[in-house]
Subunit: 667 residues, 2 copies
């Protein structure tokens, strides 16, 4: 490797990987067959706690994993030796490569305990790569830190199917949620402060401050020129504006009763659900009611997840509607000058974070939008990079929040529509426990011991619950994709119960239905599931289609989702919602996709109704616009954007051992 | 290097640096003479903008810099290629090494524009290492992100004396402030939620939830056992508590009107200065008034800066008083179970961040406590590590906020007392501009052009202002240390003005006084300053002593500071303050050092009074206790803990170039 290249005076040892890549020809560097070192599992019985399993495995140096999956040094930004961000430049380099298979993991209607979608996803990629020798990358959302300190329950998978180190995954990670929080709250501060300054200054004073003379020169900034353009003012010399134009430009005239932007915090802080701000005398009586939501519900988080590149992100951010003026017109993030500052705060957050599973296979963690008021999927950018890295015979397995009626529907109709990436198959996770609940079993509550219906074989109850699974299978079919049902094993299950589910699923259209024990066995436990998935992707004749066309009216799109995905016969829109829809239509927002906000605990709008009912009426009692993220959010029932802490949060168990530096008591 | 070691079956190439270190004997690895590659400056005229200078220099790979200064691979946690955290293990490894010289950079009473303390500090270390061939590390505070988006003004130094990359320094850095914010706000949420749960549950229900049966077993967590101990209950079986003990244990009985813990945000958000929380019906009427402060004012930030090790940090965090109960007793962070959770959230934040100057010399950035309600110095841990790394002939140059009356006083009496590290010399930064202001020049305002008094030679005005400098020189002398005055050059200064300052400083006891042009010339411009400092440290007969003894009464300590440092003849304490002092004394807090909160714009309590007045009365109108950080805070006048944004924040200029990925408009 000391050959001199014609365009270059350096020897190859002096070249960067990136230069080598371009100068030696791609094929010398890129190989889509990973030489990946698998980490063997040392499976224990009984299965130890998540953190103890996570600790028992020494992760590979993340730089090595990055190299194994074909990333070059310039594309990898290390955060210690176990996490790394991956540069967007990777997409440019691999632009010409074919995408791998694209698989989404969805679920049936879950119990409050969750049915193990993330765990199944992680187990599945462990199986695909470590046991089936296929390139596979898992794409997961970054979890909110709120629940981490609330009720026990990690988001990194569990048992022998985990992302490691689980404490890094669950705490801070590479700071993306903190960056979203900072951007969201800077916007809020700038919004309230602008209202304050407008209320205390004349047009002239305001204008002179907004466009000051600096060293004798008066100039509009780029963001101010954009605002002028939107106002139809084509002048560029600040001294040439008429007094009307000065007023128009300087006064956003925000209606304090119509501010739609909230502050956020990544903490379960119930006392911030409704607050009054501006009560210090320094704010001269400009108080108003507002609220905090949890950070991951910020529209900025949804945008981070949906942006296809930097320019697209900037464009979406600029369009976020943060308030309405006294004439009812929208005021955007760009109007208050925030687009660039948010971009700068998110410049690292836009890069996905690379981690690994317990078996040393790659995982991308990126973005974590809410699954009700937002679309609940990990980022488009992570999926896109992953699909290039696995190569055409590889697999990208990504997740969608809640049941197929919620996360999966939005994955297809919002995320895939935006990314223009076509999915190949769906893995639908079910448990015996959840189906028994749908069959009429007693309520399942976090923290309380399971009732005997769930700890003993009960085929009758299980059978009664199968319609829920069948409904979710048929939901997938509506998109023209094969569905592989994953029966996520729990220790109380019996073989007869598994067999009942399997047969029913296949009889009702599943491509296959497979028992998977990845929680207790790691990837080996999901090897059959992986085989079925490979078969589904390679042999099934998938013809992906959307559920609705964007050109349909907002009402029609809502009805289509409610009818086809939930089983509703009617949709009831109150007057307020109808009026809002009229307004959105007038303003040209009616061509956006729909992001339903509905309980995840039922196919209907009522969390208490289990099974798979039909013929009901779905009530939409509110609706909002996320103009930046690019969707309309009809709300069915009260949606809390701020969880609370329980009387005994897991805070009480968490500690740092000052001798070893190790975290204790985290899950 | 293939020799086999007796205790080890591996060859040296298979060993980690750390293993090698222990197995080959320290002297083989450690060398206190750095082989440091200096980055040459390409100085331009006129001096370009800070960001353009920062961009024009390609930083060394931070891993290389770390190696150059004697860190081993295991001690360096990379955050990309330009920042790295340094492990606390470094202190264990270098435990036996001698400390380097310890220098603090302080200032005279500044103008609102600042007199360039950080710039001088950075220029000085560039000079020491790049020009004087001495090992030197700069220790700086991490700046709040609030001002970054408010009024222009970087905190990374300026001109040719900067920490690079300046955008990393000013934005997120390695996430420490975000971690402090998260910890502070989790504590606040837990506090309000606890009050809520106590108000809605009986003693029994509360106890059953706080100490639940898990799989049939009921157990106190470690943090609950600590609370029992504080209550004088020695039982460890939850079922053995009497109903009185249950009530005592379960009810913190917090007085909602006496909650002293605030929420924080790292944004200039003036509308959060006073707010009412808990107004959602879900909180059942438990509303109360509270406030947000800027994150760096959190007591947790002060603790991060003052902790000497992990165990000490935990101990301090546990003692933070967050509220008082209805009987007037303190409720601590440990009482609400938060110590461990905060430790876990801060586990990375406790490690200093390594960056570099424009000339490639090392900088530690760590912690950034407020300089009024806290002590305004960077961390003890960073200074400690730095002193080991530079070796006994090297220099650690650290900073103290505001004038010698504030930051330096606290540096000595709080920080050095806690760290037990003895400083060797003080660099006192002055400018012609500030001294003219003290001589009676017109007000200096940020953003407005300087008046002619400041742009033309005016020896008379300057001479009138010299008493301020002389007072600060005499302040240093009271600690038994030599002071080197740094005259930070500005373009309007004349040689005669410089000479006037120089002569006067030396005549009044300065070890030396040196003109320094590091802003326009980089380290070369501070080479004479570096020479003077080396001489001061090596030849001066320094006999460091504290200003006051901890055993003195709180009143005496306040008087001593006011009299000796500010020039006050009397201290006026109102009844509220006197009462609080009585309480602190009763509770045994009277042996803590004092952290005065006073305007930085005057030696007196009135920001409008310039020069060096004497004989005045200092009024203390409030006082508070930071039991965790370990100091008492007397307040002289209104201290704002939440800045606001101006009408035209620099938000309007900031953007991310989506083609190049570069930040624009940041300073």
């Amino acid at each position: 490797m000391f050959k001199i290249f014609p365009y270059c005076t350096k020897t190859t040892t002096q070249l960067t990987d990136l230069q080598l890549y371009f100068w030696t020809g791609r094929q010398n560097i890129i190989s889509m067959e990973w030489k990946l070192r698998v980490l063997p599992l040392n499976v224990q019985r009984p299965v130890p706690s998540d953190i103890s399993i996570s600790r028992s495995q020494e992760p590979k140096d993340i730089a090595n994993l990055a190299e194994e999956i074909g990333l070059i040094k310039e594309e990898v930004i290390l955060y210690g030796s176990k996490k790394a961000k991956v540069s967007l430049k990777t997409l440019d380099r691999l632009d010409k490569e074919q995408d791998g298979k694209y698989v989404v993991v969805a679920g049936i209607t879950p119990t409050p305990l969750g049915e193990g979608k993330s765990t199944t996803l992680v187990g599945l990629v462990q199986a695909l790569t470590a046991h089936k020798k296929r390139n596979a990358i898992a794409c997961l959302r970054q979890p909110s830190q709120g629940p981490t300190f609330g009720i026990k329950g990690g988001a990194a998978g569990g048992g022998y199917s985990q992302v490691i180190p689980m404490e890094d995954f669950n705490l801070h990670l590479t700071g993306d949620i903190h960056a979203v929080t900072a951007a969201n709250n800077l916007l809020a501060a700038q919004l309230d402060t602008r209202m304050f300054h407008e209320s205390t200054q004349t047009d002239e004073a305001l204008y002179n401050r907004l466009v000051p003379k600096v060293k004798g020169v008066r100039k509009f900034s780029a963001i101010q020129l954009r605002r002028l353009q939107r106002l139809g003012i084509t002048k560029t010399d600040p001294d040439s504006l008429t007094s009307d134009e000065i007023s128009l430009f300087s006064r956003l005239d925000i209606d304090p009763n119509n501010v739609v932007w909230n502050r956020v915090v990544d903490v379960n802080d119930r006392h911030l659900r409704k607050i009054t701000i501006g009560q210090s005398p320094t704010e001269k009586g400009l108080t108003r009611e507002t609220s905090y939501a949890i950070s991951v519900s910020s529209e900025i988080m949804a945008i981070l997840a949906l942006a296809t590149n930097l320019e697209d992100m900037k464009n979406r951010l600029s369009k976020m509607v943060v308030a309405f003026n006294r004439k009812g017109g929208p005021v955007t993030a760009d109007d208050i000058g925030m687009t660039g500052a948010i971009m700068v705060l998110l410049k690292d957050a836009i890069e996905p974070t690379l981690m690994q599973t317990l078996e040393g296979t790659p995982v991308f963690v990126h973005a974590g939008p809410f699954a009700n008021i937002a679309h609940g999927c990990s980022s488009i950018i992570a999926d896109k990079i992953a699909m290039k890295l696995v190569g055409k015979d590889g697999f990208v397995v990504t997740e969608a929040g809640f049941g197929s009626d919620i996360g999966m529907e939005k994955f297809f109709n919002i995320k895939c529509r935006t990314s223009q990436k076509t999915p190949n198959a769906v893995v639908l996770v079910t448990t015996v426990r959840a189906l028994k609940m749908h069959g009429g079993g007693p309520p399942v509550t976090a923290g309380a011991p399971l009732k005997k219906e769930y700890t003993q074989e009960n085929l009758e109850l299980l059978e009664k619950g199968l319609p829920n699974l069948i409904k979710h299978i048929s939901n997938v079919a509506k998109y023209g994709l094969p569905v592989v049902v994953a029966i996520n094993v729990h220790s109380n299950d019996t073989p007869a119960e598994h067999e009942l589910i399997r047969k029913s699923a296949i009889a009702h259209g599943a491509f296959d239905a497979v028992v998977a024990s990845h929680w207790s066995d790691g990837g080996a436990g999901a090897a059959d599931l992986a085989s079925a998935l490979i078969k589904a992707c390679e042999s099934a004749d998938s013809k992906f289609k959307f559920l609705y066309e964007l050109e349909s009216s907002i009402e029609d799109k809502i009805f289509k989702i409610a009818h086809e995905m939930y089983g509703a016969a009617n949709v009831d829109l109150n007057d307020k919602v109808k009026e809002a829809i009229k307004l959105y239509t007038e303003k040209g927002f009616d061509k956006l996709p729909i992001c339903m906000a509905k309980t995840s605990n039922s196919l209907t709008g009522d969390p208490a109704i289990k099974g798979a009912p039909t013929g009901f009426t779905l009530t939409v009692n509110d609706i909002s616009l996320s103009a930046g993220a690019g969707f309309i959010v009809p709300m069915c029932g009260e949606i809390s954007k701020m969880p609370g802490l329980p009387t005994r949060p897991c805070i009480f168990d968490i500690d740092l051992n000052t001798e070893t530096g190790e975290i204790e008591g985290l899950f």
